[in-house]
């Protein structure tokens, strides 16, 4: 990416959404447990191609990269993930509703 042409730098700053902070936290925790290194994340990001910069936000690219690494590390299977994503989606139409598990860990 170094040296490619690009437009002016947008210096606005968004406040991180909770879901973004959660992704960051899971990335740090899972790296700490040795499931992957920053190199695996970099490689997964590169494999998404240039396109990903147009279609996905920063933390969207990172949740995809962390997920890729976790699946490769065997922490959970793609099937596990698929089933769970269906269940999450079925809980409701908003992030708040979909995070609601009714489980005691809040």
């Amino acid at each position: 990416m170094g040296g490619q042409d690009a437009g002016p730098i947008d210096r606005s700053q968004h406040d991180f959404a909770l879901w973004e902070k959660r992704i960051d936290a899971m990335m740090v925790i899972c790296q700490g447990r040795g499931h992957f290194t920053v190199d695996g994340l970099r490689r997964a990001l590169e494999d998404m191609g240039e396109q990903a910069f147009e279609t996905m936000t920063y933390y969207e690219r990172w949740v995809a990269a962390v997920n890729q690494n976790l699946i490769e590390a065997g922490v959970y299977s793609l099937e596990d993930l698929g089933r769970r994503m269906q269940a999450v989606k079925a809980r409701g139409a908003t992030y708040g509703e979909a995070s609601e598990t009714g489980a005691s860990d809040g």
Partner: protein, 217 residues
């Protein structure tokens, strides 16, 4: 209702984006599913995730600013910092974790600026989370080729007799710029000096604030 104490205000005082009310996106669905699976598989717990978020929120450029101010007042510390920035920062009580940290010094004729072209590596333990622009494609691609033009966008116009050094953290090192101490600060305390050190001055896209010329009575 979720009993998550992070719901209210972000540390900057702004409300979090109203996640709760916005339509659930595909990637948010993945985040929720990932988090639940990790907890169920025993890889983490909700409390650990919350603690990690708190730890991240607690880190701010103030840590880096304290290190810079110490280097300005203490020549031995400065030498230690330039030799092994991780060790020196730890000696001040900051948890650098496993980072390898290199401090690069701005002088009258050298100005340093940091980038990670491969992703967005950043000395998070000293400076907190990186700003959005640091992670942007525009910054990462342009600063290695036209750093002076980029710095001008940030309001920093460097003369021709200053050499610009760009540092691309391509591997295991993380970088922090040791900015030059502003003139007229001889009588300031270490804490007052730290207050002049901006985040951008430690990345290299800015310089420290000038001291307030109006002295309190």
């Amino acid at each position: 209702m979720p009993h998550d104490h992070h719901e209210h205000l972000s540390p900057s005082g702004h409300p979090y984006r109203k996640d709760d009310d916005v339509p659930l996106t595909y990637w948010q669905t993945m985040e929720i599913a990932m988090r639940e699976l990790l907890i169920e598989k025993g890889e983490t717990a909700a409390a650990e995730i919350a603690r990690q978020i708190d730890a991240m929120d607690a880190r701010s450029p103030a840590n880096g600013a304290a290190v810079v101010a110490r280097a300005w007042v203490d020549a031995d510390f400065k030498a230690r910092l330039l030799a092994d920035a991780a060790e020196a920062s730890r000696a001040m009580g900051f948890d650098i974790g496993p980072l390898h940290l290199i401090a690069v010094e701005n002088t009258r004729d050298t100005h340093n600026v940091i980038v990670c072209t491969l992703c967005s590596c950043y000395p998070r333990n000293l400076l907190g989370l990186p700003p959005d622009w640091y992670k942007s494609r525009a910054y990462r691609s342009r600063v290695v080729k036209t750093p002076r033009a980029v710095l001008r966008e940030f309001g920093l116009d460097l003369p021709a007799d200053v050499t610009v050094r760009v540092h691309d953290s391509t591997a295991d090192m993380r970088y922090i710029v040791l900015p030059a101490r502003p003139p007229g600060t001889e009588n300031l305390t270490e804490a007052e000096l730290a207050a002049l050190v901006t985040r951008d001055s430690m990345i290299g896209t800015g310089v420290p604030r000038a001291p307030d010329l109006r002295q309190p009575a």
